[in-house]
Symmetry: C2
Subunit: 273 residues, 2 copies
Amino acid sequence: MKNQQTDSLPSHPIGVFDSGVGGMTVMRALMERLPFEDIVYFGDTARVPYGVKSVATIQHFTEQIAHFLLEKQVKLLIIACNTMAAVAAETVRRVSPVPVLDVIDAGARNAVATTRSGNIGVIGTPTTVNSNAYARSIHALNPKARVYSQACPLFVPLVEEGWLDHPVTRLTAHEYLKPVFVEQIDTLVLGCTHYPLLKPMLADITGNRMLLVDSAVSMAEQTAQLLDEMGLANPQREAPDYQFYVTDIPLRFQTIGERFLGRSLNKLDMVQL
Amino acid sequence: MKNQQTDSLPSHPIGVFDSGVGGMTVMRALMERLPFEDIVYFGDTARVPYGVKSVATIQHFTEQIAHFLLEKQVKLLIIACNTMAAVAAETVRRVSPVPVLDVIDAGARNAVATTRSGNIGVIGTPTTVNSNAYARSIHALNPKARVYSQACPLFVPLVEEGWLDHPVTRLTAHEYLKPVFVEQIDTLVLGCTHYPLLKPMLADITGNRMLLVDSAVSMAEQTAQLLDEMGLANPQREAPDYQFYVTDIPLRFQTIGERFLGRSLNKLDMVQL
């Protein structure tokens, strides 16, 4: 870390983690919303995707990652992966001495603030949807809300293929969203960190019928608020430090990573857990 | 194993492994072709898919699996995963005291025997295609053959979604196969263990223009031949023993596994490597 002389908690980095590159949509939103914060990103690219694994395995992997980032002296942990947030957020909170924010809570808060009718749609991976975590978070904030969830397992591979506005992706989206559309929802939560890359196509398909809640943007907003309230905002006014750790660097990593981040990827290290 | 009294090598099981459930298409072809052989299957479901990982990581994981199966006293190792066969077959052969067969070699032999024009198409995951392993195996058998390869990264998630003959899958297949079709191939190798489930749809799209080489069937044929030549065929005439080991049992495992296997899944154990 840079601020060795003034090693107070606010000068410490934020820790962000995901099962792979998806969380870089959250990283990108944080970089834009909080341009003076140092950020350490962890992507478990050797074991991605988590959305198809069992709950016990996801909890075990998630705890390993949280320990890794806590050793990097982070002042805040952000669970940028909806699948981990859905089934392992409590596991992280149990082991973490610093505050823990997660994308599901952030997305749920934003959805409840956005909806007028109280009818909220949620799309995500099978594990996220089966966990029912969004419905629980939304109902904890507004018991009158009605939540309609739909798993969209093909959206992640479609995004990674780069088919962000391809006829195949549109046809897949129409197929997945058919049952959601009949429910008269006015708000649709993009409950997976890959989905913000499909936002232009989804906005086109859904038209003016509903608002799309981007959990990456919601997360950045919630983080800014928390840092402010807790006096944890970084006082530095120079260019921040961004460090990326991954468990594997596959062939297409650079391409996919930069597509998610919207800028070039520097300071990338491979580690084993 | 059952034949404790007659514990000679032919009575030992065959070891089959894959990064996940895909290799069960090979398992199924083996069960049908060699109905007296005991088989131990290993699927690395906690770390699947391998097709998007780096070569070093795939070699490391593959070696761990080979050691696990060798401890189970297998008489033969079958690499049922194209990605592992493409980049880690030599790693397995280096550590194995028993014969090692792999799906790429089996598919290449079948393709060379099938083609009339010498123009062969190969479809597979990005890692398999980038490795150029099919082209090398085919050219080693027939230096005059011309190989046209195409990565089809969305086929695996489409099969796992169960969209085996869905408009989205057809549109995706047309998109991927367009550059292959212009090459006047007469043989198309299904270079991924997931693809045999798409065979009816692919046969419909390709019509009578080409023959499809199913590497699972090719593998079973090659195994039968090797067991016969080496005097390793199991002499038992009772129902064989099928044991499945996986590193994770996710929610949809039973459904997907049984779809691949074409029958119910018994004797399933979860292990850690």
